[in-house]
Every structure is written in structure tokens, then in C-alpha cells.
Symmetry: C2
Subunit: 467 residues, 2 copies
């Protein structure tokens, strides 16, 4: 280690400053490690700058437009608002900036040494930085890789960021009066379908599977689908996109029913803009993984064990780079587990089934734990109970009478196995289900717990009490 | 027991059909009892018809007005809405009616025999009904008294329901352009202050104690007070009302600083309307309590043990009639405890400290469990940790940067002892704190739990992780 800054040693080098990277760095510094954090962009990562936070700002705007357009029946008659798209962007940016400053402050006060640079492995304990002022070398026995992911493009159709856009482009895209296709009915596609529609766009989602949000509880998906339909989003599910081409007017898609024979005559669909939201690819390129012998999965994710270890030296990976749920809150926890493991603690590994999932539309769709089907497949004596939100006072007050919550439980043991629902603000209610799922008798405890009245949360209690 | 309906026997007679009465009746019927429920008004009680539900409908309206008036900065510029007060009332009533039908349906399908009648005890096992069709007598070994409470009037100033109004009158009161005094800065007074102000009223709260919401955490109260002030509510705390008189123009109050000498020259204040919200009195009159020897406290509440037993025969009391927190959710649970005790089960008594409390203003103020001060008084090695909502993404997105959450915990045992906060939608987050407080290691478990990002709920996790 030299003091001129050209070659320095740390206990941990973290590459990537998103939810995995900065949280891992902070936890490591709490545990007494000397930590270097490398981030060539801005700390906070995609989640803060192009993901969770900016989309939720837009969804908040979309929610207000929905509420005011429906409130005449409740005695408040609004004219449509004058929409200033630049201000919408700017006010979202204010939130992002504030949180960005917060993270920078935490890193600084935690003593984390932050480098505005990318980095690549040179063996198992060395990282080469390529910043503006030339190369620099850092040493550490432990390295946490957390470079995240980027939007996947459609084969043969690279993003031009004008007509063929990704989720980052979509954040600054004014959809008013435009005909927009969204390729992929996952969380990103569905959230943007509502944002674009409420801001005056004409939106069609194209999804290969039989419904949007494949893999999620079909009953919940069906409720949300009807809601999106009611709001004016056109859902084209069970369709396969054969080819896509750009032209002067925009983008042309040729689609056939999924599973149709190759001779099926395709339907040609013209849109002005196409948001491609078919998933994300881990950012492994240029990381020097070969130099250390780090192994990738077929999806190009770093293969890790349940504490995030890559199997090579002191190299760990967390967050989107390690595949899995690709959710910010999972990423942060994965990084904490890695770092605690490095510190010689014995952290509980993350059970993917207990990572809560949210679609932040209005209404929200949430889930955590097992569905009834999953529980029964595991051989658990599970039953399911439901409660309709049209019998929940707070939901009715929020104007929601179509939602539902459902609980999956083991009545013998009193365990809560799973929770899901569609309804207003259910994301805020997920934590009580997550906590209960972690207990041996969570369902029993919840059914004896006193929920404040009136809340949407009470619906969990009502569901559990249903006979 | 005769079949002509003049004299019938049940296992349990419940007098009063509010949250305590109907929930007790339902639980008893689940447990196999033959149950009679007496309600001279509408099942659902004050909570459904004149309390929790209608006020929250009005607060929802008030919230939307607040949001749209502040949203120009976020890119949505609204003209003030045309307010149709009759429609506001009507749409709130739609919610009430739906829930009312729901309760009636549950009682019917549960086999509860409902009498549209009041009832009075005639000894420990007999109740006399005075319905339209004359008197009728019911017998039961067990009787659950749940007749609730009514607003207290100011000594010497009976409610005239025109200028001197109670919280029920306030629900159908159009505050627009009116000068309104609110006597009492408790939850009811504070919630109505925001409703009236957002609908165009000019509101002053008069509170004897040094701040509104006496007894609640002063730091939280101070945040909410500033917020109300910003919204235009005038708070006159630490003032004692000497006399109040009605006159042609409205109501005149003479106030002095609380604790001032009797010679202090009073300030005369004129308002057009006065909402008296100084608490509630249990409805014991006409219940025939003497006939059974049931004892009342100084506050006219039925004195009960921790399972709701009055100490006389099989007579129990639950809800406002038994004093205490006077909250709907506490009432329901108290009734469940009574009924399970009657059924020979061994229900856990309710610990009043674990009954969550909410002020449903915007922002909401919530608490459950112990404050730091209370925990330290109990000799617990408690510490407090706080997290400002200006560092919470979802709160910023909701437009809230003034709120805070705080946790009280025992770091040695990992127990969560208390939780409180001021912020958007915190009522929905209370259940996770309530559940955690009931565990021996709730704080530790919560700090290892995965909260969805971004949510306001995450602030609990952040608070727990704060060093």
C-alpha cells in the first residue's frame, strides 16, 4: 500500500453503488471494515435514478389524475388539470436529488472511500480503476460485485432511445397523444402502461404469456387486468412478436398468437413508440470476471451460494448482477448478508419466497410467501382465505371496491404461509405479512392482534377470521 | 321459554350493536351460542354511522383538496374544485350503507337473533325489551353490555344541534365560509379542524392543556400542530373556557389562560358555531344496572376486570361503556375476550398499551406501545431511534417531508417496546409494529425483515438500523 493514491489496500472493495453496493458498503463500515466503493455514475444506482423512485413519482401523478377524474361523484368536481410535463419531471428529480444527497452523506459519514470510477477485477484480490485521472489499483481480500443490470433489447432491434425506448428513456417521455406499444407485460411494462395512459397516451401491452405479470397469482392478475382495461390500457396477451422494424412513422410489429404454426399469417401493428420491457441483463461486461475465474449462469448472472459467495477467493455478488428477483430491497439485503458473512457473522440466508413483490399501480398488487398452490405442492396442509375489499371501510373510502386480499395458512400450526392482494396502498401492509410469515404461528398471532380501525390492513385480520 | 315470542331464552344477550356488540355476537355464534342482539338504532353503532367511517370519508375529501391545491409544483395545475356538499354527504353515506348491509348479512348468516329494540336489565339474567310492539322478556345466563357512549356536553350548555353541535352534527355541517370554534383538542376536535378548514371554514381549536392531543408524544404532537397551523387551523392551547353563551349571532366564549387567577380579565371570543368535543360519556342511563347490582366508575363507565366481567352474575361489558380507550378496534377485541371467556376459553386479556392509536389527519399521527419515557419509568433499558421522513423516498413522493417515525426498543433483548410517528398513511403501517411489540425479539426480527422498496413502512427499518 502506498500513500500517493496509486495503489491502496482496503478490507472490502465494492464495485457498483446501487442498493446492493451502497448498502453493503455502509454495513461493512459499521462492522469496522475499511471500505472502497466504486461507482462511475451516481450512487443510488438504477433504482434511485432510473427505476423505483422516478417511476413511483410518475405513478403518484397518475394516481392524482385518476382520483380527480373520478371524484365528481364524491362531491368534488375538477376540471382536467393543466399538465406541465417539464414540471412533473423536475419535481421527480427533486426527490431523487434529495435521496442522492442522503446516500452520499451516509457514505461519507460512514467513512466509506468512494471512487467515481468503474473497476475491473485483476485476479481475486485486485481491482483496477479507470477514472478520469488514469488507472489506479486497489487491493482487498474481499470484493463485493454489485454492478446491477440494464434493460434487455429485442433481438435485432437495438434501442435507438427515440422510437424504440427502454425504461430509462420512458421516464422523460411525454406520452400525451401518442400511440405507444409496450413489449412485455411484467412489472415495468404494467406500471408504465398506467403512467402513459393517465398522461394521455394510447397504450397497448404485448405479452407472450396468457396474461400480464406471468408467474403471479392468476386471480390477482385478473383483477388488476380488468382494472387496467377499465383505465384504457389495451392488453394483447398470448401473442408472439415475430419481427419488429423501425420506419418513418415509428415502429411496426408483426404478431401471431403464441404457439401458432409458422405459417400463421401475422397481424401487422403500427405504433409511434415502442417501450421494450422484456427483462434485464446483468452488467458483467468489462468486469474482468475471467481474470478471477468467476462463473456466470446462462442468464449471464454471477452464480453465488446463499450467502452471495461466488465460490472464488473473497469475491461476492449481490443484487441484479447475481440474478434472482432483481428487486432493490432484495439487493440491499443480499449485500448485507454478503458483508456479514465476510465479517465472520452468521447471517440468515434470504429465502427468496419471503421477498415481497409489489406492482405499484393503482390499485397496487402485492404478494409475499407461498400461494396456495405452492404450499400444497410442498405438502403443507394449507388453506386459503379471502376477504373482498368491498367489505373493507377504508378501501371503500379510497374508492376501491374491486380489490381483494388473500391469506394462505396452516390452521394446524397457526403459521401464515403467504399473503397477496390487489388494493389501494397494499405495499405498506406487506411488512406485517412478511414478519408474520417468519414466525411459527404468524397467522394465529395476527388474528389476535389489534388492527387500527378503519384501515385497509384490517382486511388481513378479516380474512384470517373468515370461516 | 315460550314460543309466542313474549319470553325467550338465549345463551347470550348482547345489548348494543356497535363494534363491541356485533363483533361479540358474531364471535359467540361462531362458538356455538344462541345469541340475541338488541339494537334500537342501526347495527354498526356510532363508529359506522356517526364516527370512524363518516369522518374518514370527509378526511379523504379533505386530503384530495389539499393534494390538488399543492400539486401545481409537481406539474398538475388544478383549479379549485366545485364542491357539492350534498354529494359529499351522499357518497359517504353510500360507504356507510354498504358496510351496514355487510354487518346485517353477517349477523343473519351467523344465526344471531337481532331485535330492533333497546333493553334494560331486570336482575342478572333477564332483559326487558321495549320495542314498538310492547314489552318482551329475554333470559340468558350471560349478558354482554355494549351500549357505547355519547358526546359530553359543556356544563350548562346543552347541545342545540344548530349552533352548539356535537360530532354527529358535524358530519352534516357545511363549514364553508363559517367561523367555527372547536372546544377540545382531542382526536375528534383535531380531525374536524382539518375537515372544516379544507372545506372553507375558519377554525379555532380551544384546548385547556398546553398542546392539542394531550397525553400523546409531545414531539409528534408538535409536528402535527405545525402542520395544522400551516393548513390554517388556529390553535389556542393552554386556555380555560370560563363561560359559553348562545346569542343571535352564534356562540360567545370567555377564555382565560389555564391556571390563571380568578381575577384575570377574560378574553371574549365570538364564533358562529361551536363544536363541543370534550370527550364522551358511557350510555348507562335506562340500562337497569341497579337491578343487577352493576357498579359504575366515577366516569359512569361499567367497572370490569381484564376479561370484561362486571363482577355480577354473567354480566360483561365491552367498548365505550366500559371506559378505557373508547376506540372501535379496542371495543371489538374487548367483546371477543368477553365472549371467549364466557365460552370457557382462556383468551389473553388486552394490554391497553398495545391498542394502536391513530389521528386520521393528513399527515396521520400514530402510536402503539410505550414511549421512551414510559419504558424508562418501567425500569426497562430502553433507547429511542428516529428516522426523518424527508429521507424516505415514498414519503417525499407523497409530498411529505416533515414527518418522522420513532421506535423505542430494548437493544439487549431485541424487543420492540413502542412505535410512533407523523406521516402519510402511517395507520396502515401500525400493524407491523403492533405485531412486533408482541414478540420477545420484535425489533431484531423487524431489522432482519425485508421491507418492499419504496414504501413509507421502510422508515421503521431505517429507524431500527440507525446507529
Amino acid at each position: 500500500m502506498s500513500d500517493d493514491g496509486s495503489e491502496r489496500s482496503f478490507d472490502l472493495i465494492v464495485i457498483g453503488g446501487g442498493p446492493a453496493g451502497y448498502m453493503g458498503a455502509l454495513r461493512a463500515s459499521e462492522l469496522g471494515m475499511r471500505v472502497a466503493l466504486l461507482e462511475s455514475g451516481k450512487v443510488g444506482g438504477v433504482c434511485l435514478h432510473q427505476g423505483c423512485i422516478p417511476t413511483k413519482s410518475l405513478l403518484e401523478v397518475s394516481s392524482l389524475i385518476q382520483k380527480t377524474s373520478a371524484s365528481a361523484a364524491n362531491g368534488l368536481q375538477y376540471d382536467p388539470p393543466r399538465i406541465d410535463f417539464a414540471k412533473i419531471m423536475a419535481s421527480g428529480q427533486v426527490v431523487v436529488n434529495r435521496l442522492h444527497q442522503g446516500i452520499k452523506h451516509l457514505l461519507k459519514s460512514g467513512g466509506v472511500v468512494t471512487f467515481e470510477s468503474s473497476g475491473r477485477l485483476a485476479g481475486v484480490d485486485k481491482v483496477i480503476l479507470s477514472g478520469r485521472s488514469g488507472e489506479q489499483i486497489l487491493h482487498a481480500d474481499n470484493i463485493l460485485l454489485a454492478t446491477g443490470s440494464r434493460p434487455k433489447d429485442f433481438p435485432g432491434l437495438p434501442f435507438d432511445h427515440e422510437r424504440v425506448i427502454d425504461s430509462s428513456d420512458a421516464l422523460s417521455f411525454n406520452p400525451s397523444g401518442k400511440k405507444i406499444g409496450i413489449l412485455g407485460g411484467g412489472v415495468v411494462g404494467v406500471e408504465f402502461s398506467q403512467i402513459f395512459t393517465s398522461l394521455g397516451g394510447n397504450v397497448t401491452i404485448f405479452e407472450r404469456e396468457r396474461s400480464i405479470l406471468p408467474g403471479e397469482d392468476p386471480e390477482l392478475v385478473s383483477i388488476l387486468s380488468r382494472e387496467l382495461d377499465r383505465q384504457g390500457v389495451l392488453l394483447r396477451c398470448g401473442v408472439s412478436v415475430g419481427s419488429i422494424s423501425r420506419n418513418d412513422q415509428g415502429v411496426s410489429l408483426s404478431i401471431v398468437p403464441a404457439g401458432a404454426s409458422t405459417e400463421t399469417f401475422p397481424e401487422e401493428i403500427a405504433v409511434e413508440y415502442l417501450l421494450v420491457a422484456i427483462g434485464r441483463t446483468p452488467n458483467t461486461a468489462g468486469l474482468g470476471l475471467d481474470s478471477a475465474g468467476v462463473i456466470l449462469s446462462r442468464d449471464k448472472a454471477v452464480i453465488v451460494d446463499d450467502s452471495g459467495w461466488s465460490g472464488v477467493g473473497g469475491i461476492y455478488a449481490a443484487g441484479d448482477l447475481a440474478g434472482g428477483a432483481m428487486l432493490a430491497h432484495a439487493a440491499s439485503h443480499e449485500a448485507i448478508v454478503c458483508v456479514e458473512k465476510i465479517a465472520g457473522l452468521d447471517p440468515d440466508p434470504i429465502d427468496p419466497i419471503n421477498v415481497p413483490r409489489v406492482v405499484y399501480t393503482h390499485p397496487e398488487m402485492v404478494s409475499v410467501g407461498l400461494t396456495l398452490e405452492q404450499a400444497q405442492k410442498k405438502g403443507l396442509p394449507a388453506i386459503q382465505k379471502k376477504f373482498p375489499l368491498m367489505a373493507n371501510g377504508r378501501s371503500l373510502i379510497h374508492g376501491d371496491r374491486r380489490g381483494i386480499v388473500k391469506v394462505v395458512l396452516d390452521e394446524t400450526s397457526g403459521a401464515l404461509l403467504g399473503f397477496g392482494g390487489v388494493g389501494p396502498g397494499l405495499s405498506e401492509i406487506l411488512p406485517v405479512a412478511t414478519l408474520a410469515i417468519g414466525l411459527p404461528d404468524g397467522a394465529r398471532r395476527l388474528s389476535h392482534s389489534i388492527f387500527p380501525h378503519p384501515t385497509v390492513a384490517e382486511a388481513i385480520w378479516d380474512a384470517l377470521r373468515t370461516r
